[in-house]
Subunit: 210 residues, 2 copies
Amino acid sequence: MTPKEIIVEQAYEMFFRSGIKSITMDDISRETGVSKRTIYENFRDKDELVASCLHLMDERFNREYNKIEKESDNTLIMVFRFMKFGTDVLNSINPQFTPDLKKYHFRVWKETMTVNEKKYNARTLKILKKGIRERVFRETIDVEVVSILLNEQLRIISDETVFPSSRFPKIVVFENVLINFFRGIATQKGLDLIDKYLREESDKFVTVGT
Amino acid sequence: MTPKEIIVEQAYEMFFRSGIKSITMDDISRETGVSKRTIYENFRDKDELVASCLHLMDERFNREYNKIEKESDNTLIMVFRFMKFGTDVLNSINPQFTPDLKKYHFRVWKETMTVNEKKYNARTLKILKKGIRERVFRETIDVEVVSILLNEQLRIISDETVFPSSRFPKIVVFENVLINFFRGIATQKGLDLIDKYLREESDKFVTVGT
């Protein structure tokens, strides 16, 4: 690994574990053994380092997504497995991470959201159409509306003004929002698959949606 | 009817038909035959008149809600009938109404939303719990999370930045969001009721959710 990669990996883990604000460039230098001078040669400021961490997160999500897609027999199981991966990541992140990101690195957050939203929208449309062909999603849904709607659900889940994590454990919100969402657009075949999946993996979920 | 009531009724209909901005106090005076002097004796300004119209709307919604509640055998059918009433109202409102309200009468809109949100939240919680007792909603849902979530769906539906009405007919958005939402939290018994209702009333819906 190059020093740059070492710094990003380490910062990524520290930000996720402790939030962004509480981690200084000094902390990262100490943990990696890379001098602050070298850190600043690679990253103009903390903003740029945070952006690289978000990029790394996106890469890892994509890699996991491609792996799950390849391993899944049908779209619904793929979606639920990916959701499970999402909840695991969510559980491992310090609750301050997203608020810190929005508060102290707003520009980076906004730019990442804009780029990702387009990409995720295209992917969601593809998933919905595939699910309709496989008869796990109802063909009467308006895929464009439902695709935007799913994006909104993901935004709502992480919106602290809607579901403050002090009152609502993120995992309960996540499951209630997303399991209900996919049940909502599922055919009977889809519902049977969801129930079967949740029964088999019930130890992995807080609420079981049957 | 008092002059005050005549003014509010007329303004209410005109705002709904043509949006708020395009209707002047002169227009209302002309249509009602009530002098502008009397209008201003009853309402300090257009803000106050708009607030009274929103209050009237709330009253009518409540009256209709109570009527539908009394006439419905079970919670799911009640919800769908009330939704149908909502889509009919939505269809009859000029698309400029809500944007005008937010843009030119922000304070009134904000105050109404704050008051209503609390009231609607309490009502939604009651509906969800009743539906669970009747076994039409799944008992594993977190009623508090789902109640907030429903509020968010209603907000999303009327959010022009999410679903611009130039691209997405409000009625298609409404049905995709709400039918899917209630299917998402329904038991098998609930789903059967929804399907039966949508089949019987299919002429009243754009998309049929079976």
